[in-house]
Amino acid sequence: MCFSHVPGKSRPPPPYPTSPGALPGPCLARIQPPRPRGWAPKRASRACPPPRATGRAHPEPYEPPARSLSAPRPPAQRPGDGAVSQILPVGGGGHPCPPRAHWCPLPLPSKAEAEAIEKELLEDYRFGRQQLIEIWGHACAVAVTKAFPLPSLPRKQPTVLVVCGPAQNGAIGLVCARHLRSFDYEPTIFYPKRSPDPLYRDFTTQCEKMDIPFLSYLPTEVQLINDAYNAVVDAVLGAEAEAGEGREPCAAILATLKHIRIPIVSLDVPSGWDAESGGSGGISPDVLVSLAAPKECARRFLGRQHFVAGRFLPYDVQKKFELNPPEYPGTECVVAL
């Protein structure tokens, strides 16, 4: 995956028309050249290091994150410098992982840029905050249904636990829970520290009125969570949070989530991870849904599936921040990388 961002460098013109001009121009989503699955690396301004030949080339021992999934995983390779690898799911019968794509070591949008994108959407494009949160929450719910389709859930009831933090990421989780409910899942919300913002209070009311139960406490006994739910949606902390575990009750929640065995879906940034450098010793989500564009820390994501919910981004924003989004199929609002 390559989000090229090299400020100050002149870029070659893209092979498709970029400025519609006075008349309605061709829609770029349709004219963009077909891309291979996943991100097409842009030409790097510096030479990419050659891909590593085989096996582990990294000196430090790598410990795969402790979690149990239905299929056994081969030992993970430690990403080489800059080159990011994504572990692909193991097929039945224990096939070795297919060779990984080599990604160019160019930076993804930083935390400051992610904030700038959001600011531009709110101020220049006059998106409403509730509108954006609704778009993102809906897209996250669609991603969850793609990652964990209803017929594939192991438990008899399609229960999902949605853990919501106090800020915007939590509000997105609330909207996600509501859409999951309309998609026939059975979400339960844990929302310990409710934001006083009236905007977010409305989201809470909407969920309550959809008959979504709110837990009064999160059990520290992780086996209870493992037994009751099929998956956990982590909407605790987003890109705006400071690095580290954060304050209570987020710290206690994250400590519990680190030990659960059912899959975790993180919204935008795995909670507790630094948006730029990633987490060490933090939670290890199975699925990541990046909002608008993947953040820098997504390079260190080692889970099963990575979705991007960025279809609604106006083309000019994509161009300005030099995002290089993939093709979205049909009318889908998320795409798996």
Partner: protein, 290 residues
């Protein structure tokens, strides 16, 4: 050590108070996760207003006052905001259009769509629809003569402008011009609150649209129609996208495609008004009724 069921029971104790008239109690009883048909509850629901109209499997067609009451309840009781629901409604409309009229089906050289937006919420739905159509690969052009000076509509207009969706300064004078330039017209002029006479400039717009030969997709109500009785000599759209639930006027709809959109109605509200909405397929935000 409490078992998982007791845990859920504890959590359920602190959930907010419920309104009455619900057909399922607490706990994971029947109906949860099994049938996908909301609204199929045992007869403990209250029936409001006139009896069920024609439609698939007892689907109810709403009168104007009922539609307004449901809308009000969504905003006041359920605390939805207009921009939230408008976003979902506009997305439904664009998705339905993409299903019925895929870009490849256009006879014009490019999938150009004219979106005519009225002065109220129906117009706002049209603006959101235009934006999503652009993202789906169409080339929408908007005609928006009467713009309310509310921040919501100003915001939606700016979002469209910044997506390079052109706004026409004036409406094409002849139906033939529209037929030549566009492969589809989206009618987002009047919705379920429409009553009385049509004020200019929409009167002349509607008479032009009545002569257009390219398909017209109407959002919620074909504009100019009485919300309950329809209008025999009025607009004859090819597609109707009913939002939330179809209104009585939809019984007079004679076009090819009738979609249901606006997948946001909470189950409790569906039960209260006995909407009998059929199940939406998967995660789709639209459902094809005919």
């Amino acid at each position: 050590m409490p078992g998982p069921r007791a845990l859920l029971g504890l959590g359920l104790l602190v959930a907010a108070a419920r309104a009455g008239g619900r057909c399922r109690g607490w706990g994971w009883g029947r109906g949860w996760g099994q049938g996908r048909e909301w609204g199929r509850c045992p007869p403990r629901r209250t029936m409001h207003g006139p009896s069920a109209g024609p439609g698939p499997k007892g689907l109810r067609f709403l009168g104007q006052e009922e539609a307004q009451a449901i809308d009000q309840e969504l905003f006041t009781e359920y605390k939805f905001s207009v921009d939230q629901l408008m976003e979902l409604a506009g997305l439904s409309c664009a998705t339905a259009i993409a299903k019925a009229y895929p870009p490849s089906s256009f006879t014009t050289s490019q999938p150009a769509v004219l979106v005519v937006c009225g002065p109220g919420n129906n117009g706002g739905d049209g603006l959101v629809c235009a934006r999503h159509l652009k993202m789906f690969g169409y080339l929408p052009t908007v005609y928006y003569p009467k713009r309310p000076s509310k921040p919501l509509f100003e915001g939606l207009t700016i979002q469209c402008e910044k997506m390079d969706i052109p706004f026409l300064p004036e409406f094409p004078a002849e139906a033939a011009f529209i037929d030549e330039l566009y492969g589809l017209v989206v009618d987002a002029i009047f919705g379920f609150s429409f009553k009385g006479a049509v004020r200019e400039p929409f009167g002349s717009i509607l008479s032009t649209l009545e002569r257009v030969t390219v398909p017209i997709a109407s959002i919620d109500i074909p504009s100019g129609w009485d919300v309950e009785k329809g209008k025999a000599d009025g607009l004859q759209p090819d597609m109707l996208i009913s939002l939330t639930a179809p209104k009585k006027a939809a019984t007079h709809f004679a076009g090819r495609y009738h979609f249901l959109g606006g997948r946001f109605v909470p189950p409790a509200l569906q039960e209260k008004y006995a909407l009998n909405l059929p199940a939406y397929p998967g995660t789709d935000c639209v459902l094809q009724l005919t």
